[in-house]
């Protein structure tokens, strides 16, 4: 690489690599918008008490089912997205509901990811019977109808936040297990795993210290995609009345509640639906971008453009030099 033993390519400090990723993100405006939207939603839902234009629980029967942009008698701000059947400000309700929707999404991804990745590592690394048992469980799980499972579990345990997370984890862990197993099996054949065995590493150390770090980026990309999917799944459960119970609310629950007014107050369904759509879309777009950046085949093209800071189009060629 270098002409003399003394010269090595400079190591990137954490700050420098962060700047490069930042620049790459800046160049991909769609991914940037997606990230901004997700950040906005997160900040808004966390700070709902301070940031929502109205109290999400204040009822006003006089203002019930007002159309969007109806001026409010009590505040300078209008009801931007209108009000619901109890006269509560819809935007504020959506922000409050987002708290639960996102929380379910994140917790579901963390729980299902932990379970799926661990089982995938075990199956991929040990192979043989361990593999057969775990992968049969995966097949079984994937073949099982999602709604039936959800109805059974939520009937048995009763609806509630953690029970919904549990259902989602049970349904989604096989996705991680499959992906992790596949990548583990190909990594297992690499010489550095053999080298770790020769040094004397045990199975646990090899799986978590040698294999897992090399899987981190594809798993993170998958997890981002899964957040979008879980938000949608939670909406479906809540819509069916299996998810969050009043007074708690989530986006899916809001659509369910607004359904009966669809003829007269369409915004009760459309507004939360739009938030679900935009959030899921943003998570998907961000995941696509992250996949391109972390994929060694595409990465340098994305990053090289960012590093040079030029407006050169990234060329698509098969050949890498």
């Amino acid at each position: 690489m270098a002409a003399t033993e003394g010269a090595l390519p400079k190591a990137l400090t954490f700050g420098a690599s962060l700047r490069i990723y930042g620049k790459a993100l800046w160049q991909d405006k769609i991914a940037l918008l997606a990230l901004i939207w997700l950040l906005l939603i997160m900040i808004a839902t966390i700070g709902v008490d301070y940031l929502a234009p109205f109290s999400p629980t204040d009822q006003s029967l006089r203002m019930r089912l007002s159309a969007p942009m109806t001026p409010s008698p009590t505040s300078a701000l209008p009801h931007i997205l209108g009000t619901d059947a109890l006269g509560r400000d819809l935007l504020s309700r959506i922000i409050l509901a987002g708290q639960l929707s996102l929380a379910v999404g994140f917790s579901g991804v963390i729980v299902s990811g932990l379970v799926g990745v661990c089982l995938g590592l075990l199956a991929g690394y040990y192979g043989d019977r361990t593999d057969v048992i775990i992968m049969r469980a995966v097949d079984l799980q994937i073949g099982f109808p999602f709604l039936m499972l959800a109805i059974f579990i939520l009937y048995a345990l009763g609806p509630g936040f953690w029970n919904v997370v549990l259902v989602l984890a049970i349904v989604r862990w096989p996705v991680y297990a499959r992906v992790t197993r596949g990548m583990t099996m190909s990594l297992r054949e690499q010489q550095f795993i053999e080298s770790a065995k020769v040094i004397g590493c045990g199975g646990g150390r090899i799986m978590f210290r040698h294999i897992l770090p090399n899987l981190a980026s594809p798993i993170l990309v998958l997890a981002t995609l899964e957040i979008a999917r879980l938000i949608l799944a939670e909406s479906a459960l809540s819509f069916l009345g299996l998810g969050v119970q009043p007074p708690g609310t989530s986006w899916g629950r809001m659509i369910a509640d607004g359904r009966q007014y669809i003829g007269t107050a369409w915004w009760l369904v459309v507004a939360p639906g739009f938030f679900i759509f935009l959030t899921a879309l943003s998570a998907n777009l961000l995941a696509t971008w992250a996949r391109a950046v972390t994929d060694p085949v595409h990465r340098w093209r994305v990053l090289a453009g960012a590093r040079a800071g030029t407006k050169r189009q990234t060329r698509t060629t098969r050949h890498e030099r």
């Binding site: 690489m1 270098a2 002409a3 033993e5 390519p9 990053l303 060629t317």
Partner: protein, 342 residues
């Protein structure tokens, strides 16, 4: 070929993979291009045959004359016609050169159908002849085999058969035996040599193995960091190399006849093409380095007829004489050479 330059647009900036390279080859001759990884030897051969990936690669200067025609100025279709029929290439990886979905015979016959418009039957018969020519036993039945039914050595033979099918004038062999076992390697090289004589081929042999170059080539070009550092007849290069890099390569190659005698080591590693020093690219690793080497990029100087070296002190280096112990080059061990048995 003269003053050829090829650049690559890489992550680390524009890289000059081949810098101002000139070589020429006469009919029936074998030219060996010797170099380590990153020396530009494969890129040079790709540029000649026209398989250079563009972009990121780009030919930034120079001409490639083939029979008086500048290949780089020809229209792509015309160029392909020449490259397909008159220049052929064998690459290192026979496995990827053959398509695993078709039989070997079909793939060789394809050359005739495509280029000459022959019938199925005629092409197939020609394919059998060719397989026979590259000494695949039982050619008539093996012609219907799929590539995976062939061993590595036979796959490489089949690739050679396809390459010589249109009776090319020039054969470019890019590390043709690197992936093969020693005994198979010797047979493939022998086959190439025999074909050369038989068909009157010219050949460019790209290799990292000095001994292989010695056994096969008439003339040798040694490349380092994208440039030809030394060029000459086989006997000139091996008899009395005039570039410290060539000399260093000889000294660093373990040889069976030298037993466990100490190897001379070239310090450092092959240079990063994106960050070449200003002076001689080899200077940082050179044991004869002088101050001027670091400042000045040496141009090729002629030492003897047909023998050039890009070193500021070429004639001094040349004066060291043979890098081999006396007599090692010639058939001194004739007495020990093994007869073929009965």
């Amino acid at each position: 070929m003269s003053n050829l330059s090829v650049e690559f647009d890489t992550q680390e900036g524009i890289v000059k993979a081949v810098d101002d390279v000139s070589v020429s080859l006469n009919r029936g001759e074998v030219l060996a291009i010797v170099g380590e990884s990153g020396s530009g030897k494969s890129v040079t051969s790709q540029a000649i045959i026209g398989t250079l990936p563009i972009p990121p690669g780009q030919i930034t200067g120079g001409q490639i004359y083939f029979d008086g025609q500048n290949l780089l100025e020809l229209a792509p279709a015309k160029r392909r016609a020449i490259a397909g029929a008159r220049i052929a290439m064998i690459s290192q990886d026979a496995q990827s050169a053959l398509d695993s979905r078709f039989t070997v015979g079909y793939q060789i016959g394809e050359m005739f159908r495509h280029h000459r418009g022959w019938s199925w039957k005629k092409s197939r018969a020609a394919a059998v002849d060719l397989l026979d020519k590259v000494r695949i036993p039982n050619a008539a039945s093996r012609v219907n085999d799929y590539p995976h039914q062939f061993s590595g050595g036979m796959q490489q033979r089949a690739v050679i058969a396809a390459a010589i099918s249109l009776e090319p004038d020039l054969l470019i062999a890019d590390e043709p035996t690197t992936a093969l076992d020693v005994t198979v390697q010797a047979e493939v090289m022998r086959l190439l040599q025999d074909l050369k004589t038989e068909l009157g081929l010219s050949m460019i042999l790209v290799t990292h193995d000095l001994a292989q170059a010695y056994e096969t080539a008439d003339r040798v070009s040694v490349m380092y960091a994208g440039r030809i550092v030394e060029h000459g007849d086989r006997d000139q290069i091996f008899g009395s190399p005039a570039h410290p890099y060539t000399r260093g390569l000889f000294a660093a190659t373990p040889r069976m006849d030298q037993g466990d005698a100490e190897l001379m080591v070239i310090p450092g590693t092959t240079p990063n093409l994106a960050a070449l020093p200003q002076g001689c690219a080899f200077a940082p690793r050179c044991s004869n380095r002088q101050d001027s080497c670091v400042r000045e990029r040496p141009q090729a100087v002629t030492i003897a007829e047909g023998h050039t070296s890009a070193c500021l002190f070429a004639s001094d280096v040349h004066a060291f004489g043979s890098p081999f112990p006396k007599g090692a080059l010639d058939s001194e061990r004739v007495g020990e050479r093994h007869d073929h048995g009965t």
